[in-house]
Each structure stands twice: as structure tokens, then as C-alpha cells.
Assembly symmetry: C2
Homo-oligomer: 292 residues x 2
């Protein structure tokens, strides 16, 4: 396993981590500058932040600052109540691939969607099996397009507490079943994003990481699970402040040959987002060295 | 599948559902009377409520009112930081078996414990594998005692969001692996409690219910998953108010021959616990008929 204790060469910052500074929204150009100023070499930007800046200006500044991407957040949301909704998702996902290409991302991270309407508070139906079929079908269509653009897709299994409203793929095993179905040749076009927050609890995690292997481990995300957790979405912990044995999980991922970035992705409305960007980044760097 | 639409013959009330009435704690004797008054035939009491009343008086009143039990909540919490802690859990679990016997319960429901200390906010360690080993060992010891008392034990896999602080067994598959290891002969001494809240999201649920079979399906609990869910513990929904396809899961359980109670267990500090007991019970009855 790589030694992270002496530098932050392999730290990437997911831009959601610094989406707010002292509770004020921080624009992407300021995030990019702050990361570069902290000698952070990689980021993973969110599409809404990129859209606000413009893809081309964002790509230009990323290159000018010498930043790499560890992923692009996010595509997916394949579920819908009708054909028009499914087509709209397809269109949006093709745009995500194009943007990822322009930004130089190594993969598009996919949050696959849950029960349509649930995120807005009112699920259109309760048939999670139907949602899963739509995910399989939509992912297949997106994969065709992404292959032609040579852009890998990384399915991110989300914690089961998001099964209703965000993603009905909730285990590494399920995500890898999709990979087996849609890319049986293991071409590298389709894989998984392993976020410790979502999968740390799974007794089958080590075995599934082994099953994924190098070709399908496309991204590694870190934060921590706090006890208590006060909010289902925005109470993630800084690495080291919770109960996840992050180094152990990283050792499993690296045992498969993964040698990419460790991406810090921390949604924290009640704590970190209230602090100054420099403090957040300094802490990410320190914890990357001590707790990842 | 049984028709629940015309009566509430197979409704059981977990006493946590009416733990509070208009936000005031309701003692067990009042809960028992309220259930009997609503012609509810079964309950599943919690140990703290039984302890407050006394086991023998509680057993006497339960019999006098003609109530059955669908389970006894709860044993388990097998994890600890030292031998003294493990022994204390063993002692407490033997008492749970004795109490269940006196109360006439069909099984003791087990919440197995997570990382020791996490429930109080400070986990003693991050080794969930160690906790799982302690669960296996402690469950084996409890099973020896429970067999001699002829009291079945029902492992309740809890939702993965409770892996740190309440239970490190989070899927039906994991619970059934424990059953296979500790009761390979499928004697009926060890099985599972299937609570739709905890397992509804699992793509392997139907297959695992089939794997469990009649001998290992010892309890069936219902409530609903709300979108949004505002609290990890106490924001469960009334059956029909959320996204869980409860009838579908019940059909899977009954296809295995399960013919017991459907136990309503709703922790709801912000909604139902603020209401009057009669309203809670009337709604449970109505939803048992329309949404279970």
C-alpha cells in the first residue's frame, strides 16, 4: 500500500467538499484556485458548478493550474415515469460524457437514480425492480455512447439509505453484476467508484473489491461515518473523525493494483461547510496523511 | 397470500409504536389495555417497558387480556471491549430468554450490536470484523441457553445505517449465514426477523427469504420508509405513507409458509408519537388492512 503520510500527492478534492465557505457558495474558479494554492493536484468537479462557470472556461483554468481530474460528478439518474423522462436522461448523460471529455476526466461517476419522484418527496411508484431495470437499460445506452467517446463510466453504489431517492444500486456486488452484464469482456469501459461512506458496512466488501479487480476500480472516495449521524445527506465526517477503517479499505483497493487518487468528498452542512475553505483544505491534507 | 383487508386478526403492535401518546411516555399496562380495547390480538413488548411494570405482572395482564406475543424486543448487543462486557451481555441475554419464556413469547428478537461505544457516540475501535466475530461467539453462547429453554432466537438484520451503533448484521444474507453456521440442522432454534424497513432495498431480498424458508422466518415487522427521512432512528413511516412495497414482501414471506403476525413497529418522534394512542392504533388497523 502506498505511503500517504509524507505528502498529499494522491489527494483529490471533490468540489462538493468546498462547495461552501463560511456557509456561502464558493464558485468553481475560486475552488480551483484554492486547491492549486494548497498544492492539491487533482479535483473532481460537480456538473452544476462546471455549468455555472462554463465547461470551456473551466477546462481552460483546470489546465492552466496544472490540475488533473479524478472523476466527474455526475451522470446517471436513469429512472423516469415515461419515455420522455428516459430520453431526457439519455440526452443529459450524453452531455455529461462530452463535458467529461472536454474537462479531461478519467471517468464519469454515476448515481443511477431511485424511484422516480422520490427525491422531490413523492415517489411515482414503489417498484424498485422496475427502477433497476431502467437503470440497466439506460446504463447500456449510455455505455454505447461513452465507449465511442472512450470515456469510462464508474457506477457508484450508494448507501442503502439512498435507495429510494438517489440510487437503487446499493452494494458493490450489485454494481459489479451490472458490469458483468454490460461489459462481460472487462474492457475498462465500465467499472465502479468505491466510496467508503457507502460501502464500509458491507461484510462482502473485501471479496467484491477483489472481484472488481484493477480494470473495474475506477475511483476511490473517502470521508467518514459519524456516530451519531444527524442527517442522512449532509452529515458526513472528515476522514479520521468517524468509524470507518479507511486504511484497511484502501489496502484492499490497492491490493488490486489501484494506484489513483484518494478523493475526499464530504457533504457537511452543519460543520465543515461553515468553515473557511483554507481550513477545510488544510484539514483534508492533514487527514489524507494521517487517516487515509 | 392471506387477505388482510377485512379484519385485523393478524396485526400485532410492537409496543414501541405506542411508547408515547401526545409525546408522553405510556406505561405498558396502558398499552396492553389500549390494544385489547382495539381488539388487537398480539403485541411485541420491549424489555424496558416490561421491566418498569415487572415481568410477572406484565405476563399476568397479557394473559388476562387474552393477548399473544409476536416476539420479545430485544436481546443481543453482543459486542464489548472486554471480557467483563461480554459476560454482562451473556447474563443479560439469559435474562431475556427467561423473561420471554415467562411472557409466552414465540421468540426473542436480537439486535446484535455494533462497534462498542458507538451508540454512546464514541466507538472504542473501528474493527467491524471483530464485532462480527463477537456476535457469532455471543450468539452461539446465547443459543445454547435458549435451546435448553426451548426459546427460538430471531436475528434481526438492521438497516446498514445502523451498522456502527446498533447492529453489524445488516442483510438477510448475513443473518442467514449465521444461522447456517450455528444451526445447520435448521432446527427452528435460530432464525430471522424480517423487518421491511431494514431490508426493503436489498436486491437479494426475495432470494434470501426463499433461502430462509419457513423454519427460519420467525417474525415479520412492518412500517414504511419516508421520503425524505429526517432522522436516522425516529422517522419511520406508517404503512402506506412511504415507498416500501409491503404486500410484495409479505407475499414472499408467506410463499415460504409464514402464517404469523404482521407486527407494526413505528418509531416516530416527530409525528405518530405526538398523537393520541387511539389514533395511532386506529391508523395501524386501517393500514394493516389497506397497505400491508
Amino acid at each position: 500500500m502506498r505511503d500517504f503520510s509524507t505528502d498529499h500527492r494522491w489527494l483529490s478534492i471533490n468540489t462538493a467538499t468546498v462547495r461552501f465557505s463560511r456557509s456561502q457558495a464558493l464558485p468553481l474558479n475560486a475552488i480551483l484556485e484554492a486547491c492549486a494554492a494548497h498544492e492539491i493536484r487533482a479535483i473532481s468537479p460537480w456538473r452544476d458548478q462546471v455549468a455555472a462557470m462554463g465547461v470551456t472556461p473551466a477546462a481552460r483554468q483546470i489546465r492552466a493550474l496544472g490540475l488533473e481530474l479524478s472523476g466527474y460528478c455526475r451522470g446517471g439518474m436513469f429512472t423516469a415515469t415515461d419515455t420522455a423522462g428516459l430520453r431526457a436522461a439519455d440526452d443529459d448523460n450524453r452531455r455529461a460524457v462530452d463535458e467529461a471529455h472536454e474537462l479531461g476526466a478519467p471517468c464519469v461517476v454515476l448515481v443511477v437514480g431511485g424511484l422516480p419522484g422520490a427525491l422531490a418527496g413523492k415517489a411515482a411508484h414503489k417498484d424498485i425492480g422496475l427502477s433497476r431495470q431502467q437503470v440497466t437499460d439506460g446504463l447500456g445506452r449510455m455505455l454505447d455512447y461513452a465507449r465511442s467517446a472512450n470515456m469510462p463510466l464508474a457506477i457508484e453504489p450508494l448507501h442503502p439509505m439512498y435507495a429510494a431517492d438517489r440510487a437503487c444500486v446499493n452494494t458493490m456486488e450489485h454494481a459489479l453484476d451490472l458490469c458483468d452484464a454490460l461489459d462481460p469482456e472487462r474492457t475498462g469501459a465500465l467499472g465502479v467508484a468505491c466510496d467508503v461512506y457507502h460501502v464500509w458496512w458491507d461484510p462482502k466488501l473485501e471479496a467484491q473489491i477483489r472481484r472488481a479487480g484493477r480494470e473495474r476500480l475506477l475511483a476511490f472516495h473517502v470521508c467518514d461515518w459519524l456516530t451519531p449521524t444527524r442527517d442522512l445527506l449532509n452529515d458526513r465526517g472528515m476522514m479520521g473523525d468517524g468509524v470507518i477503517d479507511i486504511p484497511r479499505i484502501r489496502s484492499w483497493v490497492e491490493a488490486q493494483g489501484f494506484a489513483g487518487y484518494s478523493e475526499a468528498e464530504i457533504f457537511s452542512s452543519e460543520n465543515w461547510w461553515k468553515r473557511d475553505t483554507d481550513e477545510i483544505l488544510d484539514t483534508c491534507i492533514a487527514r489524507h496523511r494521517s487517516a487515509v
